[in-house]
Point group: C2
Chain length 131, copies 2
């Protein structure tokens, strides 16, 4: 299963790096600007390959669409319940948590930590509306 290098895959990866937490559709729309003949299935296929290869992280949060995160260091996320945006959280990945669970008999590969709350921007918006 050797993987061929294609123009599409290259463009898709480059594009992902330029968008913050994009959905497949975000990626598709953006890629289309430089490469109009792209098909959405191609984006899905390549995004899946990139996830498989560990170059991309898939984040599934309550919402319908999955979003993708291009980063090499693990980190956590917060989803604003008002604007629905997903923010990276500046908190180090805790290996100790994984170790704690391993001591319970599981073999742990990693964990996802997602906070739900309200981001600073939306908090500000709310206080203004109350005035």
């Amino acid at each position: 299963m050797d993987r061929r290098e294609t123009v599409q895959r290259t463009i898709i990866l480059d594009t992902i790096k330029s968008i913050y937490h994009p959905t497949v559709n975000d990626i598709y729309e953006q890629v289309k600007k430089n490469y109009p003949q792209i098909g959405k299935a191609t984006v899905y296929r390549n995004v899946n390959l990139l996830v498989e290869d560990g170059l991309l992280r898939k984040i599934c949060i309550g919402e319908k669409e999955a979003v993708y995160d291009w980063d090499l260091d693990s980190h956590y996320h917060l989803r604003c319940s008002e604007c629905k945006n997903i923010y990276d959280i500046d908190l180090d990945y805790s290996k100790e948590l994984d170790e704690k669970i391993e001591s319970l008999g599981f073999m742990v590969s990693h964990h996802e930590l997602v906070f739900t709350g309200v981001c600073p921007k939306c908090q500000e918006k709310n206080t203004k509306m109350e005035e």
Copy 2:
């Protein structure tokens, strides 16, 4: 928006309590045994209402189907990457984590922590197969 009490809702809630991390389909199949005329849409609608009312927790993990957890105390989960089962993890909910994120400017309502790994059963299965 007063909520009516219906036979269906009662049966659905009772049924959920009897299944471990069920999907909507699991609930539907189980309810049908005692109440064959139930419709799947009714299950969806009631499950959503129960989540809205805080009587039920929706857990969305990478997989397509959402599973539901009937519990009042928050806790964490582990999803076995082999058997795909979801396990409750015996680790207390950390309010300190929420507080840490609040100090970063977010208003936090709660967090979800999901581990991915291999459960004891599947580990055992694997060692047996290697023999």
